[in-house]
């Protein structure tokens, strides 16, 4: 019987297999940031263990950093960032600190450097590590105990997850983006729909996506509960990688491409679960509730708890509407927001900023609008195209690179009761600041919303 893409990559990384035990899996790349690593480094020190492969490890500062120039004013945040610097120096790990040209959100810099390549296993103490699966590797988030384990051994014991295919047929209509697609997928299968599975996104609409779009889709796999998301590598992948600092060159490139081309699911492979979606029927999609599965087409209305047959979902909807301050039946287009955030590991890449700039060019924003590049390199590239001027002329704020308003850990937050349209990945209660209310949207919808002050599609302008 044929094998799936994920099975091929998994098998390639098994260091040891024994009856009744999880596989011991080799990890090709370990990404580290300041929040989930300090206790892991402490553990190494306590046990007198070195980092086994500092040359397969890279660190950056992203979650705590302010996105305006200057030092970190919060002493606790500052200590955490300084602790990472101390640990990186002590254990010999490459670090891109604040202010460095290579600094940025951990899931933006891996692909940008060409460190994320097809067929690799990649982990990070961050659930959105699933982003890197866009290149056809197995990439997943881990907790601090596992961070310590990877630092010490460059491996992880793990049971192979089940295999799930999400087949996206057809073509996304004009104005409908990768973000709308993944929000629609999560709404369809639910926040637990992918639990215990690695999802492979397949089909025409996926093949047509740019690498940036593929990363947006894979990034939010975790919001559907999946352990990882992946997309088979193709010419789009190879073109993205060619010439990047850590991509192979010369004969090694040819050898790599030859191998990468084998990384596809065999025609006779069998998935444990298959979900089908027709891309051509999709429209801009937004969330109305407090988990990423509580979403709906922008053209619809806030649902009523009675619409849900399942009592658990009904109770969750009731609670979400109360937290979000929304009445059932309200048209989503009538929801007014205070703040618009474009950025994060979901939508903080150049293509996302271009999409927002296209809408904002020659227009004025009426909300507080944060445009936050995902990395210093994205910032530089955007400025070379003059996008920052477009944003500033529109009245938006052009910031430094970081996680920013995605997670309420740095100065960029919502105040209690404030409402945002956000290109990030989680609309959990308080995610963007205690009492804040989040609507997840695409960069294009975010920009259009900033112009009108209400959830808006670009086509409405």
């Amino acid at each position: 019987m044929g094998r799936t893409l994920a099975e091929k990559v998994w098998e390639q990384h098994v260091v040891r297999r024994a009856e009744g035990e999880p596989d011991l899996l080799y990890i090709d790349l370990h990404l580290v940031h300041e929040v989930t690593s300090p206790q892991a480094f402490d553990g190494l020190r306590l046990a007198g263990r070195p980092v086994r492969r500092p040359d397969l490890t890279i660190a950056t500062e992203d979650h705590n950093v302010p996105t305006v120039l200057g030092p970190i004013s919060d002493p606790v945040s500052r200590t955490q960032v300084e602790t990472l610097r101390k640990n990186a120096a002590e254990f010999g790990i490459r670090l891109h600190p604040m202010g460095d040209a290579g600094q940025g959100v951990v899931h933006i810099i891996g692909p940008q450097f060409g460190l994320t390549q097809p067929g690799m296993t990649i982990v990070c103490g961050d659930s959105h590590t699933s982003t890197h699966g866009a290149f056809g590797g197995i990439a997943f988030g881990i907790g601090t105990s596992e961070v310590e384990h990877v630092l010490a051994t460059q491996t992880l014991p793990a049971y192979r997850p089940k295999m799930m295919a999400i087949e996206v047929a057809g073509e996304l209509p004009v104005g409908v983006t990768a973000k709308d697609l993944i929000l629609a997928i999560i709404a369809k299968i639910g926040t637990g729909g992918g639990q215990g599975h690695i999802v492979e996104y397949r089909g025409e609409a996926i093949r047509r996506l740019s690498m940036e779009g593929r990363m947006t889709v894979c990034n939010m796999s975790i919001e559907a509960g999946a352990r990882a998301g992946m997309i088979a590598p193709d010419e789009t992948t190879f073109e993205y990688l060619r010439g990047r600092p850590h991509a192979p060159t010369g004969a090694a490139w040819d050898q790599a491409v030859e191998y990468w081309k084998t990384l596809r699911t065999d025609d006779d492979a069998v998935f444990d679960k298959v979900v089908e979606i027709d891309a051509s029927t999709l429209t801009p999609f937004v969330t109305w509730g407090t988990n990423p599965g509580q979403g709906a087409p922008l053209g619809s209305a806030v649902p009523s708890p009675e619409d849900f047959a399942d009592p658990v979902e009904r109770a969750a909807a009731e609670r979400a509407l109360e937290y979000m301050g929304l009445a059932a039946g309200t048209r989503l287009r009538e929801i007014e927001v205070d703040t618009v955030f474009v950025g994060s590991c979901t939508n903080g890449r150049l293509e996302d900023l271009r999409a927002a700039a296209e809408i904002l060019r020659g227009r004025q924003v009426v909300t507080r609008t944060l445009m936050v590049p995902g990395s210093m390199q994205v910032k530089k590239a955007a400025e070379e195209e003059g996008l920052h001027e477009v944003f500033k002329e529109a009245g938006a704020e052009w910031r430094e690179a970081g996680c920013s308003m995605c997670l309420g850990m740095n100065p960029d937050t919502l105040k209690p009761g404030e409402r945002s349209a956000s290109t990030s990945n989680r609309n959990f209660e308080g995610r963007q600041g205690k009492g804040g209310r989040t609507h997840l949207v695409s960069p294009a919808v975010a920009a259009a919303t900033a112009v009108t002050g209400r959830l808006t599609a670009p086509a409405d302008l």
Binding site: L24, L29, D42, H63, I142, E146, A152, P157
Partner: protein
């Protein structure tokens, strides 16, 4: 890690689904670099509501959390596990867990117990009717017992053994250092390094 064999204690019913790790411990609490003190952050936003179940004195000292489905979804923060343990919980019972949370729990000795939704519901109803109900989570027998009822749960043999022995994964893996070295020597030559 703390070993887990069998535990008997009182239980708190948390009748909410999709209890994500941002609720278990909001991000502002993650700035600490130590491993202790996270109990203060446990459900810190929800605990501000006097009617939140953890504020009910009837459940003070409970050691088992009985939640709605999809407990521990979202962020990979192991701090969620530390906060639950440091607050005093030894086990969490739900019909579904976020994969990363469940993994993190088993690394730390907090037992994630999967039971069918209707059984979780019965347990919640039982402890709501009588908060003093003693609940036993028995990893040896793979059973949850309360009143005169017993329900089996599944957990793989390896994870059960590690939890019962309180074993540290790194120590176990390093016994296979020779296998790791052999694998490393055979890796594809074009794979990147960060140097």
């Amino acid at each position: 890690m703390e070993a887990f064999t069998t535990h008997t204690g009182r239980a708190v019913p948390l009748r909410r689904s999709n209890v994500d790790t941002d609720q278990i411990i909001p991000a502002v609490w993650l700035k600490q670099v130590s491993r202790t003190g996270f109990e203060k952050g446990l459900f810190s936003a929800w605990r501000e509501d006097p009617s939140f179940v953890l504020n009910d004195p009837a459940y003070a000292g409970a050691t088992i959390l009985v939640s709605g489905p999809d407990f521990g979804t979202g962020s990979s923060r192991e701090h969620a596990v530390w906060a639950l343990q440091q607050y005093g919980f030894r086990a969490v019972i739900a019909s579904r867990f976020g994969d990363i949370f469940r993994n993190n729990s088993t690394k730390m000795g907090l037992l994630p117990v999967v039971l069918p939704e209707d059984v979780v519901e019965r347990l919640q109803t039982a402890v709501e009717a009588d908060p003093a109900t003693e609940v036993t989570v028995d990893l040896v027998e793979r059973q949850v017992r309360f009143g005169d009822l017993a329900f089996s749960f599944e957990i793989d043999d390896y994870t059960r053994w590690r939890l019962m022995e309180g074993l540290d994964d790194i120590g176990l893996t390093l016994r296979h250092a020779a296998d790791i070295e052999v694998y490393e020597n055979g890796r594809q030559p074009w794979l990147p390094t960060t140097v």
